[in-house]
Symmetry: D2
Amino acid sequence: MSILVEFSVIPVGTGVSISPQIAKVLKIVAGSGLPYKANPMGTVLEGEWGAVMDIVKKCHDAVMKDSERALTIVTIDDRKGKEMRIEKKLESVEQKLGMKLKT
Amino acid sequence: MSILVEFSVIPVGTGVSISPQIAKVLKIVAGSGLPYKANPMGTVLEGEWGAVMDIVKKCHDAVMKDSERALTIVTIDDRKGKEMRIEKKLESVEQKLGMKLKT
Amino acid sequence: MSILVEFSVIPVGTGVSISPQIAKVLKIVAGSGLPYKANPMGTVLEGEWGAVMDIVKKCHDAVMKDSERALTIVTIDDRKGKEMRIEKKLESVEQKLGMKLKT
Amino acid sequence: MSILVEFSVIPVGTGVSISPQIAKVLKIVAGSGLPYKANPMGTVLEGEWGAVMDIVKKCHDAVMKDSERALTIVTIDDRKGKEMRIEKKLESVEQKLGMKLKT
């Protein structure tokens, strides 16, 4: 059973620009093989709990390599009997609205 | 000065499927005129604090119209002297990575 | 109608220790007159939407005074016909458990 | 190295009152042996990444036993070389403020 997860890792105390660390995170995510969607505030992943949390920890650890402190925020949406929600969740909303959404 | 915000409204106790309520939220967002990006876990908006929070409240109230309880989660990223971050934040990461990200 | 809210403000780029900024936030909260409870990860407030959001914005602005960037996270739990949930929510759980919880 | 974590599990679609499920979560937490503090919006835990995430998963799974859907929100604050932050973080703020905070 797969879960849908959004997460972000914020280094605290390394500087105002955090895009180098976000680049490290998204390199790990893109190389993981799991379906993902990046947005300006975080990354959405879908997969088994263990596989997803393993990637979240790898990303957190990568940021902590050159940061004294990091905040990692994880939101898990778990719904029985549903798969490929990373695509279908918004499609279902678009059908109800009868319009395409900006993504 | 504009802020970058991600938010989501989750009705609690109305049922397992919440896409009708998410459709209501995204109709309000899409009609607001503010730049937005919908993702499977929330919606990213950019604008002045007052304008953005006004939309968040409208969406929350719309869900509370036919729900006894709702949870609304708001994450604000505020950075001085930066605008149009809803586009530029990921572009800056893509430049560092030398690749296009899935969005 | 009052809402129950937890929020935290995290300055990004000012340094690894953020307790001076958290002190500023909690001074504003404690002086607001609204019922609150501080915990190691955030502050819980109860009040009308406008009154609570006004305090959240004051706290965010206070941190942005000496920070280039800040992340503010707000979680709203809104339930019709319920008041003083800042006390009663955990009491109801303690009654079900038949034990006092550490707070 | 220990991390400081706040988490909450929200069953979606089981009903408006979720205190029976929060009671299940806090029974697991209180029996875990890890230092914790419950608040009206979530529970703060301190421990090694694996130990903490194991408890979060146990709580999530316990709620999913009698729920079709659940949302679990986890916020991790990781700071090198610091321990017992579940007590010390607020104490440090209280010292700066020269006053006791409500908790």
